[in-house]
C-alpha cells in the first residue's frame, strides 16, 4: 500500500475544484485513457493576469486526483507569472509528500499547467484527443523526467 499523507487522502476523497469551468480562459490537457492517467485543467484569468478560478478533471490514481486538486488550490489568486513557476515539487510539497513511485502523478499537474498557460498565450490548442488507445504518449513525460522527479 502506498504511504499517503492525510492531506493526499483528504484531497482525493473530498477534492476541491473538481469539474469543468464552461467559460474558461484557458484549458490544458495531458495524458490519455491509454496511459491510465489524464488531466484537464481549466483556468479563469482576469484582465490583470490573476487566476480567479481553477478546476480540474482527472482520470487517474489517488495521487493524480489529489495532485490536480491541490494544484487548483495553489493556482487561485496567483498571477500567471507566479503560476508559471509552480513545479511538481510544489504540488508534492503541498500534499505533504508523495511516495517516490507516485512522484510522476504530480508531474502531470505541472505539465497540464504548462499546457494551459500556453493555451492562454494562444500557443496550443485547447483540446486534443485524449481517448487515443493505441499510442501512449504519457503526456510527453520522458523516463528521464520521471527519474528526475523521483530523485529530487
Amino acid at each position: 500500500m502506498w504511504e499517503y499523507t492525510d492531506k493526499v487522502k483528504e484531497f482525493f476523497l473530498n477534492p476541491k475544484n473538481a469539474g469543468e469551468i464552461s467559460d474558461a480562459d484557458a484549458v490544458g490537457e495531458v495524458g490519455s485513457l491509454a496511459c491510465g492517467d489524464a488531466l484537464k485543467l481549466f483556468l479563469k484569468v482576469d484582465d490583470s493576469g490573476v487566476i480567479q478560478d481553477a478546476s480540474f478533471q482527472t482520470f487517474g490514481c489517488a495521487s493524480a486526483i489529489a495532485s490536480s486538486s491541490v494544484l487548483t488550490e495553489l493556482l487561485k489568486g496567483k498571477t500567471v507569472d507566479e503560476a508559471s513557476r509552480i513545479t511538481n515539487k510544489d504540488i508534492a510539497r503541498e500534499l505533504g509528500g508523495l511516495p517516490k513511485e507516485k512522484m510522476h502523478c504530480s508531474v502531470m499537474g505541472q505539465q497540464a499547467l504548462e499546457a494551459a498557460l500556453k493555451n492562454l498565450r494562444g500557443e496550443e490548442a485547447a483540446t486534443r484527443d485524449l481517448e487515443g488507445e493505441v499510442v501512449c504518449e504519457c503526456f510527453g513525460v520522458t523516463d528521464e523526467e520521471i527519474k528526475r522527479a523521483i530523485r529530487d
Binding site: K9, F12, A34, G36, Q57, F59, A62, I65, E101
Partner: protein
C-alpha cells in the same frame, strides 16, 4: 471499522481450526522432528499426519508430498527440477498469464540460454490446445501451465493439456495455488508430474506450502542442505505451518461443495448487481471456466487505485490490475496479454471471496460501488460520454 475482506486470492485468514492445531508446535511441542529423542520424535509423527492429510486431499501418496515455504518456492523447485534433471533439453513452454513465480523463473532461464515459448491467450484469457501441441519440441524440458489464474480466476484445461503433453513424453508442472479447495483434484487422474500449492490461500498461514512430485518424475532438490523431506527439501521443517497446512487442506477438501454453490452464488450476486447498476463495465476472464470465488470487473473511464481507495474508506478490501504506464508501475500483464483494452485494464477490480464471505459483505459493495464509480467519473475528463445508471446513488 469492520473489514469486508474480498481479497482472498491475495491471501486468506487462518481458519480457527487450523490455528488450534498449529499453536502447540510453537511453545510446547517445539522439538526438532529430526531429533532422536521422544520430544522431537512426536513432532515427526504430526508431520507424517500432515503429509497424509495433504496426500489425501490430492489423492496421491504421502511420499509424493514435499512441504515448502510457499507457492513461489514450489514453482521454482518444479521448474529447476525439470531443467536440472534433463540438462540436454533447453526449451520450456508456459503461458503469458502465469504468476511471476513461473514467469520470472522462465525469464531467468532465458538469461541462461534456455528458450521459452510463452503461449498467448485469447480475449477471454484462454490458451489454445493446438498451439500448445505445436509448441512442443524434442528438446522441451517442461510445460508449465497454471491450473487457475489468480487475477481472472480462469481455470485452464490442465487435464487435457497434461494428457497431451505426457503423451509426447514431456514433463508437466501446474501451479495449483488458486484451485486448492475450489476444485476437486486427484493426482491419480491428473497426469501432471509436479504441482505447487500455497498455505495462505487456503486458510493456513503464510510461509508454508507444498508440492506434489510424482514418484516417477525426476527431482532435484532446490534448497540444498540437510536431509529433511526425504532429502528433497533442506531446512528445519516449519512444523507449526506444516501441521496447519495439513489441517487446512483437509478442511479445504471438505469445502469444495460449498465453494461451488454458496460462494459462487455470492460472487454471481456481486457480478450481476454491478453490471446492472453500473454502465460500461466488462467482466475480464472466461465465465465458462472460472473459479467460483473470483470476479474481475473493469469500469471504463476510471482508475482502479482510485476505486480501491474509496472502497478502502468503507473497509472493503479488493485489488486492482491497474497502474498507469507513465510511472514505472506496470499495469496487469495478465489483462494486457488478454488484449483487454487499456481503458479497461486501468479500471479493473478483482473481488475474491472465501468461505467466510457473507451476503451482507457483498451487499455493502453493491450499495456503495456504483456511487463511487459515478463520483470518479464525474471527476474524469472522459466521464461525460456515459449514461447514468437508473438507480445508482450519487455521492
Amino acid at each position: 471499522m469492520k473489514v469486508t475482506y474480498l481479497d482472498n486470492n491475495a491471501t486468506t485468514r487462518v481458519a480457527p481450526e487450523v490455528m488450534e492445531e498449529m499453536l502447540p508446535f510453537m511453545d510446547t511441542l517445539y522439538g526438532n522432528p529430526s531429533s532422536m529423542h521422544t520430544f522431537g520424535g512426536q513432532v515427526q509423527k504430526h508431520l507424517a499426519q500432515a503429509r497424509e492429510r495433504a496426500a489425501q486431499a490430492l489423492d496421491c501418496s504421502p511420499e509424493e508430498i514435499i512441504f515448502t515455504s510457499g507457492g513461489t518456492e514450489g514453482d521454482n523447485a518444479a521448474i529447476f527440477a525439470a531443467v536440472n534433471s534433463q540438462p540436454d533439453k533447453r526449451h520450456l513452454v508456459t503461458t503469458r498469464v502465469e504468476h511471476p513465480a513461473v514467469l520470472n523463473t522462465c525469464k531467468y532461464l532465458e538469461g541462461r540460454g534456455y528458450e521459452v515459448t510463452y503461449l498467448p491467450v485469447d480475449g477471454y484469457g484462454r490458451v489454445n490446445l493446438d498451439q500448445l501441441r505445436e509448441s512442443l519440441r524434442p528438446d522441451t524440458a517442461l510445460v508449465s501451465v497454471m491450473y487457475a489464474n489468480n487475477e481472472t480466476g480462469n481455470i485452464y484445461p490442465v487435464q487435457a493439456m497434461a494428457e497431451m503433453v505426457k503423451e509426447r513424453g514431456v514433463l508437466f508442472h501446474t501451479d495449483a495455488v488458486q484451485v486448492i479447495g475450489k476444485l476437486d483434484l486427484s493426482m491419480q487422474k491428473l497426469p501432471v508430474d509436479y504441482l505447487a500449492l500455497s498455505g495462505h490461500k487456503i486458510h493456513a498461514p503464510k510461509g508454508v506450502g507444498a508440492m506434489f512430485v510424482r514418484k516417477k518424475a525426476p527431482f532435484r532438490p532446490f534448497i540444498l542442505g540437510g536431509h529433511q523431506e526425504n532429502g528433497r527439501r533442506a531446512g528445519t521443517e516449519n512444523t507449526a505451518g506444516i501441521v496447519g497446512l495439513g489441517r487446512a487442506m483437509q478442511l479445504a477438501a471438505m469445502d469444495i461443495a460449498e465453494e461451488n454453490t454458496r460462494v459462487a452464488a455470492l460472487r454471481d450476486r456481486l457480478e450481476q448487481g454491478l453490471t446492472r447498476e453500473v454502465e460500461q463495465t466488462r467482466i475480464n476472464g472466461d465465465r465458462e471456466s472460472r473459479l467460483p470465488n473470483t470476479l474481475n470487473i473493469s469500469f471504463k473511464y476510471v482508475e482502479g487505485e482510485a476505486i480501491l481507495l474509496m472502497l478502502d474508506t468503507l473497509g472493503v478490501c479488493a485489488s486492482s490490475g491497474s497502474a498507469c504506464t507513465s510511472g514505472n508501475l506496470e499495469p496487469s500483464s495478465v489483462l494486457r496479454a488478454m488484449g483487454v483494452p487499456f481503458t479497461h485494464v486501468h479500471g479493473s477490480i478483482r473481488f475474491s471471496l472465501s468461505r467466510y464471505t457473507t451476503q451482507e459483505e457483498v451487499d455493502l459493495v453493491l450499495d456503495h460501488l456504483p456511487g463511487i464509480i459515478n463520483k470518479l467519473r464525474d471527476m474524469s475528463p472522459f466521464g461525460q460520454g456515459r449514461e447514468p445508471a437508473a438507480s445508482a446513488p450519487r455521492y
